[in-house]
Symmetry: C2
Subunit: 297 residues, 2 copies
């Protein structure tokens, strides 16, 4: 039993063993208690749905809003028109604030107020105006009240469920350095178009974190078995592309059992050897969540 | 050679070995390259020097300003009157913005503007007014321009040098949970007064991080050798007190060679055993910064 429950922001007393357990998916030990840092409750939100000309413009807009708001920029989700159309088609009662024909790309943006409740919205509107003047925003709708705010977020939150209704899909949870994200998406689009003609790429996600859910839906009216047969090759090609961009094959979903082979493929022998040593150090008997992350043998 | 230079905010692909090296003081390996996340340059600052009735009030003021400004609160330093007096006495050209007789405790506060340059100052003034109304602030001066801002910071930055001019001192770099910091300082004051009558406690530091430089200057006109003879006992008593508060004997300065014994004393056998295993794993030959953090044998 290891008691690392120190509620300290600064502690340089020896190696920070706690960090080893974060993201280890329970394979190094069982976490039985955690200590949380509380943040002030927000006093209000400014939430917008904006059409942007392309993913590059979305990143410029992100930079502009971060410059104006720092860490008060609390949400920035990239949404492709094709994903928006799927949500509109399958989720009852959803109405997009902008016509999905406005652009191939949209951003759902949220700023948080810490001071006066209206602060975030004022800042957001000023930022959107500046970005519009520089060509980074085509059109934008700002949520008037909590109901509209939730309706905007539903467009994003329903995307996975809506994509499921469009048939089979091959999914990738990847991250790349933020500065190369737009270029990665363009290369990824070409890759999918070449390998699986007619397949529909829905690339969306937490762009502020460099995280993209790079999901490919089967072609309309195509052969599902033929589509699923390319899964392994397509995924390898997408993950190879991610690696060339200095990215990760697992942004937020983890390795589990599904990506054991990816871990072995994309991490260096030196890194893998140390990961195995770390596993053996904390879990010499191999009893912690066996088979996950690093399979035995 | 381990290449962990991934410029990613999200990466759950296996164990995060990079974290082991952070704070390890070079004892696990030599870091040859790092990747930095850039933040937007500030557009302005709001900086204040405030007299507070006591350390509890300083923490209430900190909470109020965090509630109003979130992470735009970028500096919050607690300063005792005795430290302020030492700076005034020894640093030429320094003039405190408030009379050091106003209170036993002061806070140097800085907010950063991301939007309009004046934003931080407006927010700071509103926060100070609210805090004054609630009895957490006695009096405050807001820096008018960059020159005054730098003069305010000089009061804080010169504190260690000024304390050196007051003779011998016994220093502690400790952290405690923020919620118990005021209580810890009170207990620490009593401890010092009991153990070394006449000694002058200068407790100051980055209170937003729960970090206190708990430094004790020798009594005026006392016997220096007698004062320094209590060092080991006093330090043990201070660090025991810190441990009772769930704090750390090393907040930001690290273990090095000076605090090897403290590490062995305050970390559990289970934690120490794993630290030794981690050291052996990364540095089996014991060639990385030997003698630091965990001495051999």
């Amino acid at each position: 039993v290891l008691d690392l429950l120190r509620a300290l922001r600064k502690d340089t007393g020896g190696y920070d063993l706690k960090q080893c357990f974060i993201g280890a998916e329970g394979t190094l030990g069982v976490i039985t208690a955690a200590c949380c840092r509380l943040h002030p409750a927000p006093r209000g939100f400014g939430t917008a749905f904006a059409a942007v000309p392309d993913a590059d413009a979305a990143l410029d807009l992100l930079g502009e809003l971060r410059h104006r708001s720092g860490d008060a920029l609390t949400g920035f989700e990239l949404i492709p028109a094709i994903g928006l159309e799927m949500v509109v088609r399958h989720v009852p009662g959803v109405r997009p604030p902008l016509d999905p024909q406005t652009s191939p790309w949209y951003a759902l943006i949220e700023l948080t107020s810490f001071d006066s409740p209206a602060d975030a919205e004022e800042r957001l509107v000023a930022g959107l105006e500046a970005a519009t003047g520089r060509g980074w925003v085509i059109d934008a709708a700002v949520a008037a009240g909590e109901g509209q705010r939730q309706a905007f977020w539903k467009l994003r939150d329903a995307m996975s469920a809506a994509q499921k209704r469009e048939g089979a899909s091959i999914k990738h949870d990847v991250s790349v350095p933020l500065s190369r994200l737009a270029e990665f998406i363009r290369d990824g689009e070409s890759l999918v178009a070449e390998r699986v003609p007619g397949a529909r790429l829905v690339a969306f996600g937490h762009v502020g974190d460099g995280n993209v859910h790079f999901n490919v839906s089967e072609p309309v009216g195509g052969d599902r078995a033929a589509f699923l047969a390319v899964r392994e090759n397509l995924t390898a090609a997408v993950h190879d592309l991610v690696a060339r961009y200095g990215g990760s094959f697992s942004a937020e979903h983890g390795v589990g059992q599904l990506k054991n082979a990816e871990l072995a493929r994309y991490r260096s022998p030196a890194e893998l050897a140390l990961m195995r040593s770390l596993k053996a150090m904390f879990d010499p008997d191999g009893i912690m969540n066996p088979g996950k992350v690093l399979p035995a043998g």
